[in-house]
Symmetry: C2
């Protein structure tokens, strides 16, 4: 059992570590050379094109020579606080603003709770038995003296704890209600204030039935003309573009080689032109002029691709039974998304379309029947992963030891026989498997969510976050409280009575307070300070800048702004909520640590959101119901565990008072669900109609059809178009032919806010806050299969310079 | 442990009892005097006006003298089978037809299961150890020899049981899927084939917000004109008519007195006219001519009522924040019912309107926020009722003994001292409280469901049925298997491990087989035979006929056709499914008894539905998802209990095979829920549009507004109108004025299929299969507060005759 002194030392060490990180950050961020690492958001939003310089000379380009700025190294904190919430929404999106609200919610819940608990419970706990509260020795004695463990069994002082638990729950519910209300209202206001966007008018239809003799577009057209005659406008079919995506990838490789040789030639224009061999891997075959060869290859390839493209767009077999159906009003789209279309509820499944950039294209083709099976399989897998993940790791660990290494690589034996190498490996190898597992876990969970078949990236991330939360709840929270693996816990729980389980856990809770305090400091404080330092992007950016960057565009690509990774941050945030809520009554001394974490993380994330992160998509705060639900779950867990703890303390006269609390909490949750959750799923007709009317008044002669026709075309087709715009007029004509069928009314009003006939601009609409290069990179990360870049002009502005900021 | 012989004797006794009931039924039903008891449905449907007579003389009017018919006393069985399903739907409604399908589903599941289990498991069970299967003695030995108890622990024969459980589950799921599919399709076909009915065009809107300066109708009108401009037609406000309903009741009492005196005078017209006193209870005051006095009283009262009626209809304070909003198309109504209207999801709550006769008017005024609280309170109460109902009963029982009686009524002491009275009371009193409780339980549960705030009678019954099922599951099923009260069970379960519970229950299951076989015979076989005899309605009808009936109308009112009481029959039916499913593998000898029950009950209910019952409302089979869900739950329970049983038999090598079965069953349930349940809640737009189009083609000049304006007026206003039509033209004018505002377009096409301007006929529409008197009686039963009769002409056809059939 750690003493307060131990905790104090640990806190100092961690504070010192965090402080070091902050100093490093403060120094690095004001160097012009790092400007694109610490302020990429401003470059992406177009507000900054070159770093602020301290003065005009050459060194000043790279190093900050204004020494005054070094003394104000914490001035990023007030700067981060300057921007108002509405500015943040405009600047970084709604998701980011709501994400920050989670931290303020944490502060709002825990700061008053901390004051109350420290003022009431600590004296009560300390004074238990004899009143030696005022003695100096106490401050340096066991931390347990401050916790509920210090209270004698059967004491009537437990009424204080129950009272505080009631007050705390009421306060937390009150804050949760206020926050849910605010976020729901903000969301609706945000939706109402948004410019016209294709997702407002579009519905994604899955499981279009196969009508013999009719193509999918015909079927869709006929169905919606019949059943939504007043508002149906047009639709966009979805193609199975896997083969085409492969071609796109190949072409990109050719382009890379072409770029490479062009660059090589331009660096040394006086040397002879580079050559290469046409055979396997360039090892043999005829020697040709590389630049001309690849130019020709690319040209040929473009032709093949254009043919393939035609095939994909025209072959009805490659059409998926999915369509994006657009309506002439938000009302029509809202109606279609919320209603049941067909007798058979597994056909014509409609739901509001996600943003075009939020769509996960691969999952659009999954048929309905396999969704149930997929969900079942993934459900079972997640259960297995959470409870049995130690089994394969233990197996790998049993292999990954020195003997195993010797067997696999006997030639290393002389090296592994060295004492220090041996001891290093023995300490390192067994942990390696676990570390690799924990490192790839979020990715594995994301893949699992993908298999479940959700079609929006935002949903995928939310589902992955949920799975990660379960993992942390069982393996970090319960796993730390009860020794043993999750599997052993599960086994023991199955053989205990339901009333015994909270008691078993409850009893161990106060004893683990010191562990969790350390956890908060290491994982929370120092981790957050590491977040702001951005060590990895810093190194990668400079490496890229050194070796790859040739044009401004390249430099922009080398910037990795990153984003709030909801699938990791939300679950760990929820774990902190859980810790705070559980320990609020049991060991109130943990609360200050939680509060410091929330305050510090709030500052850091605010700074990062303003200056660094660039979100991939906008879900309009769709994660809030999950945040709310998990905090409620934490409240329930804390109540159950407190009950278990109190029964083990034989507080028979006070414990029954607690039974009513979970019931009240649950019904509060149910009420909130009824009251607020629909705002996160359905678009109210009232709002839709109001917005439609307003728009009709301001822009009476609007041609919606032209705007919406291409909004939901698969991005690889769009990207190809752009190139064609500039490279080959003939192809352009061919490919647009396909689309012209849906553009009949285009002539009436060609230029609108949503887009213009130019595909490039139309494409811009989806992501108004960032240039198209970032847009592409979002797809890169989301689906490597379809990755494709927009770098057509890579060599228009080539130059030998490196840091010509 | 009962032997097979005991069971055989018990079966014989019960068969004999059932046989006696059937004989009595066969004799009673062919007596013309009982015709209205055993064939009321035909009277109500208008196909029969007087009983079939065997010959022309006076005795033949009352007693069947055709002795040939006595020998064919079972001919109701083939008769019951004659009618096809579609005819039953037309004749008795969709609910009744689907209700019958539950019995055929039971037969389809259990007959093959019985053959399989008897052919495979009984030999396996019996042959356990030594093969003395062929010995004659076995047949009369212990019933446990045939059950799983006979198999030695650790035997590998349990693989047979697991195999049969798998086969049985697969078969049951297959049948459930087919049946769900059929019922869902039938429902949609039925909806599509229905004539135009107000509920197809109407949506009930709850929680209309209070707009200062606007009345509820104005707010509703404005909101729907704005947000559903293309399809909104009109709406019907809902009034708080509690005070008016009281007046209606008082007037009825006056009418009764008036009727009484008129009758008294007419029986003896030569005597002087009856008189009464005007003072308190008619004991003092001025002596007046009764007939004239009540005539005057009624006239005065009608005036007061007309004023009150005006007040209710015009006072905006008495308007509830609820409205029935009608649309000009089924599509518009379906859209409005399925979408979210307002930013605030607790306002403007829309849902498909139930049939007018299905509405439970009192609950329309419950505000949304109190619904959560009401549901919470009722949830807790149901839990308490299920687990702790024995506590108050034990308390009452402790009072209701001889000593208690002596204390309350000491004057009875001489009587209670008599030995036979004493022993009777001692045996009778303690059980009385329990019997009364069980008798009123369904009513109590219905009241609880009413408090929960559902607005349709059909939903109320379904909710009450669910509660009753939980009660039976815990107190009949578990309570019989494990000795002790539900409260004691709950206590022991809380202190056992989750894996121990199925084992505890599983072990006792085979031992209770005999009890449940007896239960099936007594409650099932004999109970069903009692159902067909209709002893209570028979007696009540003849008593009423003797003392009350004066006119044909009275005789019709005296008929009590009854109805399928879903809130009692569904839960007990589900209990039989549970018994069959649980014992299919454990004690297969129980299955034949279940099959006989299903077959017999099917015949009886088919006969009753065709000849007797008259449903109060039509929910279009809305109870099917519940039936399906509970059978799935039974499958899960049986799997868990079999696992528990097998672990107690130490069948460690075979038991794990069972673990996958509940997971598969659950995902099957999830799939079915996705696939079929929407058909029971939402009206697909495709169907709505098709029906709309068809109608527009066949009847292009339809005036919907006039048809729908009054469809959802509170029935007490409608009933009053009818009287006024005939009694007082002046009142008529006054009261219709109110409604004229909504009838502006009435003149264009006054006569339509749906209704005519005459209120009486319009009223008829709701219940096309029965005359209005039954319509009134439906309301009587549903809400005594508003009960009101249509007997205006009670004395137009008066006569001294009793049985003038």
């Amino acid at each position: 059992m750690a003493t307060l002194e131990d905790i104090g030392v640990s806190a100092l060490i961690n504070l010192f570590g965090a402080f070091l990180f902050l100093i490093a950050f403060a120094v690095l961020r004001i160097q012009p050379i790092n400007d694109r690492v610490y302020f990429p958001k401003w470059y992406l939003s177009g507000d900054r094109h070159s770093p602020r310089r301290s003065d005009g000379n050459l060194v000043g380009k790279f190093v900050n020579l204004n020494f005054k700025t070094y003394f104000t190294f914490l001035n990023w904190m007030p700067q981060a606080m300057k921007m108002s919430e509405s500015e943040i929404i405009r600047h970084a999106g709604f998701d980011s603003a709501v994400f920050l609200r989670i931290y303020t919610l944490g502060l709002k819940i825990f700061v008053p709770a901390m004051i109350l608990a420290l003022a009431v419970l600590v004296p009560v706990n300390v004074s238990s038995g004899t009143l030696f509260f005022l003695k100096k020795e106490l401050v340096v004695s066991d931390i347990d003296k401050l916790s509920i463990s210090n209270v004698q069994p059967e004491s009537s002082k437990f009424f204080f704890h129950i009272g505080v638990e009631y007050l705390f729950t009421l306060w937390a519910c009150f804050m949760l209600y206020r926050e849910y209300n605010t976020v729901a209202l903000m969301r609706l206001q945000y939706l109402a204030s948004q410019r016209r966007r294709p997702e407002q008018f579009t519905v994604v239809v899955r499981n279009v039935p196969d009508m013999p003799g009719h193509s999918v577009p015909d079927t869709v057209d006929q169905f919606f003309k019949t059943n939504h005659p007043e508002h149906y406008l047009c639709h966009q079919a979805v193609y199975n573009a896997n083969k085409y995506a492969k071609l796109v990838k190949q072409r990109e490789r050719l382009q890379d080689w072409y770029d490479y040789y062009v660059l090589k030639h331009q660096r040394n224009p006086h040397k002879k032109k580079p050559t290469c061999r046409t055979g396997f891997l360039g090892l043999w075959g005829k020697k040709v002029d590389s630049i001309e060869y690849y130019q020709q290859q690319i040209k040929d390839f473009d032709h093949t691709m254009a043919l393939e493209r035609q095939k994909v767009l025209k072959d009805s077999k490659l059409m998926l039974p999915v369509a994006f159906v657009s309506f002439d009003s938000r009302w029509g789209a809202a109606v279609c998304a919320q209603t049941q279309q067909s007798k058979n509820p597994t056909l014509w499944l409609t739901s509001s379309a996600p943003e075009p950039r939020d769509i996960y294209w691969q999952n659009l083709s999954i048929p309905f029947i396999s969704l149930t099976i997929r969900k079942l399989i993934i459900g079972v897998s997640v259960f297995a992963l959470v409870f049995f993940y130690m089994i394969p790791i233990a197996f790998v660990q049993s292999l990954a030891n020195l003997q195993g290494l010797d067997r696999v690589a006997p030639f290393l034996r002389p090296v592994t026989r060295l004492d220090f190498v041996k001891s290093f490996l023995q300490g390192f190898l067994p942990g390696l498997a676990l570390k690799i597992f924990l490192w790839i876990l979020p990715t594995v969970l994301l893949i699992m969510s993908k298999i479940e078949g959700y079609i929006a990236l935002s949903t995928l991330e939310r589902r992955a976050a949920a799975k990660y939360y379960y993992f942390m709840l069982v393996n970090v929270f319960l796993g730390s409280i009860i020794a043993g693996t999750a599997f052993e816990q599960l086994d023991s729980f199955l053989h205990q009575s339901p009333t015994q389980i909270p008691r078993t856990i409850g009893v161990s809770i106060p004893m683990k307070a010191t562990f969790f305090i350390t956890y908060i400091m290491v994982d929370g404080w120092a981790g957050i300070a590491g977040e702001i330092l951005r060590l990895k992007p810093l190194v990668i950016f400079h490496l890229k800048n050194m070796f790859i960057v040739k044009t401004d565009r390249d430099r922009e690509r080398a910037m990795d702004p990153g984003f709030v990774d909801f699938k990791e941050t939300l679950p760990s945030l929820q774990l902190y909520f859980l810790l705070g809520i559980v320990y609020a009554v049991v060991t109130p001394i943990l609360l200050p640590f939680i509060c410091v974490f929330f305050a510090f993380a709030y500052l850091v994330y605010r700074h990062q959101i303003i200056n660094v992160y660039n979100q991939q998509y906008e879900s309009c705060g769709a994660f809030w119901p999950h945040v709310h639900g998990r905090i409620i779950a934490s409240l329930l867990i804390s109540q159950l565990l407190l009950m278990g703890l109190l029964t083990s303390k034989k507080a028979a006269n006070s414990t029954p008072l607690l039974i009513i609390l979970p019931i009240l909490t649950l019904s509060f949750h149910k009420y909130c669900k009824h009251r607020f959750e629909p705002a996160f799923g359905k678009y109210p007709l009232e709002d839709a109609m109001a917005k439609d009317k307003l728009e009709k008044e301001t822009e009476p002669e609007l041609n919606m059809k032209a705007d919406l026709a291409d909004a939901y075309l698969h991005p690889i087709f769009l990207s190809f178009d752009e190139e064609l715009d500039e490279e080959d007029e003939r192809h352009q004509k061919e490919t647009t032919e396909v689309r012209v069928d849906k553009h009949e009314t285009q002539s009436s009003s060609p230029v609108t806010e949503l887009g213009t006939p130019s595909h490039y601009q139309q494409h811009e609409v989806y992501n108004p806050t960032s240039p198209s290069s970032h847009y592409a990179s979002a797809y890169e990360q989301s689906s490597s299969q379809y990755e494709y870049h927009y770098e057509t002009h890579r060599y228009e502005e080539h130059g030998g310079y490196r840091y010509n900021n």
